[in-house]
Symmetry: C2
Subunit: 246 residues, 2 copies
């Protein structure tokens, strides 16, 4: 592992919280200003950061450009987009698209319930592995050894009264999810939110992504959320078909 690269990335991450001066950045790493300067010069050279007129560092356009490319590489995101928009329009509820990535589940798209405008706020963030419908869907599709390994690494922090509290119970739930083809989150992550989720499959038959619908209970109770299942499953079926699934 490269100390230098790790430091540079930590500085980048720090800039995610807002602009910083060179001294502040050096302070974050606990290194001399010179060291921070050299790291930032490289980042600046590649447009990952830029400096304003006051010598403050900001996240730069190179980052946007790369992130745009990363998004486009997730072909599934582009394929899913029209279907997700339609589902969002038909149900009026929040729709998420998530993917499994190196032991974690990450949101790669979101359609909000109100404005039908894409929100960036949570894209890129991790989904909690033991409390969300998308995570259950994706974990349930993993080969058993990997599934066990990932589950073993989970910190079963209780979010609500309904949160699954241990690996055995989660593994059992994942079996159920795998068998019936969809997952729910019955106030397991937030007390006032229920979700249903289902997998999107490609030509290989593997679940390459998961779609979920999230509904606050003041809008509709859990039972009504389950009634959205046919629409959800039709959506994931259509996306899977576009992605080449048989």
């Amino acid at each position: 592992m490269s100390q230098t690269v790790t430091r540079a990335l930590r500085l980048l991450t720090e800039l995610g919280d807002g602009e910083r001066s060179l001294e502040q950045l050096a302070g974050v790493l606990g290194v001399h200003k010179t060291t921070a300067l050299r790291l930032m010069q490289s980042l600046e050279d590649e447009r990952f950061v830029y400096r304003d007129a006051d010598y403050r560092y900001h996240l730069g356009a190179g980052l946007f450009a790369l992130a745009s490319l990363a998004m486009e590489q997730r072909g599934i995101r582009r394929i899913a987009a029209p279907h997700l928009a339609a589902l969002n329009a038909a149900t009026g509820q929040t729709v998420h698209l998530a993917a499994y990535e190196g032991g974690e589940v990450v949101y790669i798209d979101k359609y909000d319930s109100r404005h039908k405008v894409r929100m960036y706020s949570r894209i890129g963030l991790h989904a909690s592995l033991h409390t969300t419908a998308v995570a259950k869907v994706l974990l349930a599709d993993l080969p058993l050894p990997e599934r066990r390994r990932v589950v073993a690494g989970i910190d079963f922090a209780p979010h609500t009264q309904n949160t699954i509290t241990g690996p055995q119970r989660l593994l059992a739930e994942l079996e159920t999810v795998a068998a019936r083809g969809w997952a729910d989150d019955h106030a397991e992550h937030e007390t006032f939110i229920n979700c249903v989720g289902a997998p999107v499959r490609d030509a290989s038959g593997r679940a390459v992504a998961a779609v979920s619908i999230s509904v606050p209970d003041i809008v509709a109770p859990y039972e009504q959320v389950l009634e959205l299942l046919p629409q959800l499953l039709e959506t994931t079926r259509a996306i899977s078909a576009d992605a080449g699934a048989p």
Copy 2:
């Protein structure tokens, strides 16, 4: 400057073109596999990349998360969004939002003419400084010394017959733009595209962004594009007001 960081960023950029094996990445830098491995381990550790089951590297969710933050930090982007959507809907034409950043002009949002769906394809890319309306708008607002310095650094590559070909002519054009409050691109970047652009100002009065409308000449001739000016200026006025301009 840090060689190590530069190498790591070059590998990241390389992944922007698609997945790569460790050997391919080592080949890009012309270094030993070991070296590339260490760099990638650091990137992987911070979720900037991840490896799939075939040990191929991909751009990772850490990048998404950071880019999302970067976007949100550009408050102007959020403020402008509804106005740009409205302009896009009213005119049916492609609308760009761009900002000045360290000697360059960068697209930070785009509304496409056809589907009214945000396209990521160009966000993060640089605008050509001597051929685009957004660049003229932003350069025209710079203090004269910096404006001269930036203009002096431009490579005046001719894109079309109408492209401005030298620093003197561009500086003169920028004076005009500054005086009248808007800029055009009369087939200067692409032979078949005309644009108009105008600045967005914040409370300080500085131009913090620029909005442009781009129209292919098969849709409407240059003269009709100029007729969009009132709508454009009303849009930038409204955004500026929301951003705190007097």
